[in-house]
Symmetry: C2
């Protein structure tokens, strides 16, 4: 009982900071998405492909959340994009306060897009709003097509589902139609992209969508 | 601060029940392992191969933990083995109390091995002792070879590491030597198996080890 009370309090305090973050992002004209997945679904590779494509057109920065190490941040930094690593030191998700503490590391007035890479975890991050404009869940082919049914919360709250590593389709028993059907049972409006960061398949559609989405959210706020 | 206190209390109460479970398992002569991994690493397939191999030799039962659905339990039940599904309804890990509540569903006196399949999550389950004799972490090739560095807690507390889906090695940039090196940096004593439930590669070694391990722990306790 006590645990539930403390958790409720924690979540409502998180929600308050998330709303502050959201107002701040809006004021600065920065579009923000929160990238969610299991460990090893390819979030970092997808971010690498995305920031490299957007360079010169959409001013992008990245926050990467990890339990340990700054390996992801190092990979992304190679693309000459501002990156701030948040090492949670054991915590299984990012919360709104951690994200807020990262703000001083960026020149928010000079950004159009902030990508937040959450800790690899298909359960806990679903409960923590960070103030983002959209949650994007990534699953990958080798994880199996039943993940939407088994971890429904993540799919319910996501605007977009990226099914990554489609290059591995021939070597697994993943049923693409079934995965999409399961995801839409839980969230009929979810937008789906099928991608491979190895072969580049499907990336064009995803990147066009990001560009359009950022322009709608931030485009008119800056000169 | 308050959160930390409540969490410490929760963990110590979990530890107490875990010790009770451990005593109970010992008394009954049941060897127990706790299978940990990200969603989609192949825990359920590995269990299917394991129980099917052990049939007639080692009397085995399975507890499967899932946030939602009993899909895993259904898959395992096809192998004519006692299965109890624990649906955590949102919780990101099994705890000792949930496992204890499942005891009445089994004839413990007639078991040699209990396999506990934890919720797919590479972070939170590491903190919750269930009373098992060994923790076994499964990672799969498509997740990438850096997982031991990024999620060290899980590898530190595991006796065994199973690197699964080795059939996908030719289609990824996973470096097997490097993954094992990283795991041993964190846990020098960890025992490693390389398996594929699709091709059967490496399963023989794993299954011999299980059989030997169960015999050592439970063999003399029963007739």
């Amino acid at each position: 009982m006590k645990r539930i009370k403390v958790e409720k309090k924690l979540l409502s305090s998180n929600q308050q900071i998330a709303e502050e973050n959201r107002r701040f992002f809006k004021e600065k004209g920065v579009a923000v998405f929160n990238l969610l997945s299991s460990p090893g679904s390819g979030k970092t590779s997808l971010i690498e492909r995305t920031v490299s494509h957007l360079r010169g057109r959409i001013r992008t920065a990245v926050i990467t959340g990890d339990v340990q190490t700054d390996r992801d941040a190092q990979r992304i930094a190679q693309h000459q994009v501002p990156v701030k690593q948040i090492t949670t030191g054991g915590a299984c998700h990012l919360d709104a306060r951690m994200v807020k503490r990262a703000f001083p590391f960026f020149s928010m007035d000079e950004l159009d897009l902030l990508i937040i890479e959450n800790v690899g975890n298909l359960v806990c991050p679903a409960a923590f709003d960070l103030g983002e404009n959209a949650k994007i869940t990534v699953i990958s082919i080798p994880e199996g097509d039943d993940k939407p049914l088994k971890y429904p919360a993540m799919f319910r709250i996501s605007e977009v589902l990226i099914i990554n590593k489609v290059d591995l389709l021939p070597y697994t028993n993943f049923n693409l139609g079934q995965a999409i059907k399961f995801a839409r049972q839980i969230n009929p409006a979810i937008k789906v992209f099928e991608t491979s960061c190895l072969t580049g398949a499907g990336l064009e559609d995803w990147l066009s969508w990001v560009e359009e989405w950022v322009k709608q959210l931030s485009g008119t706020a800056k000169k």
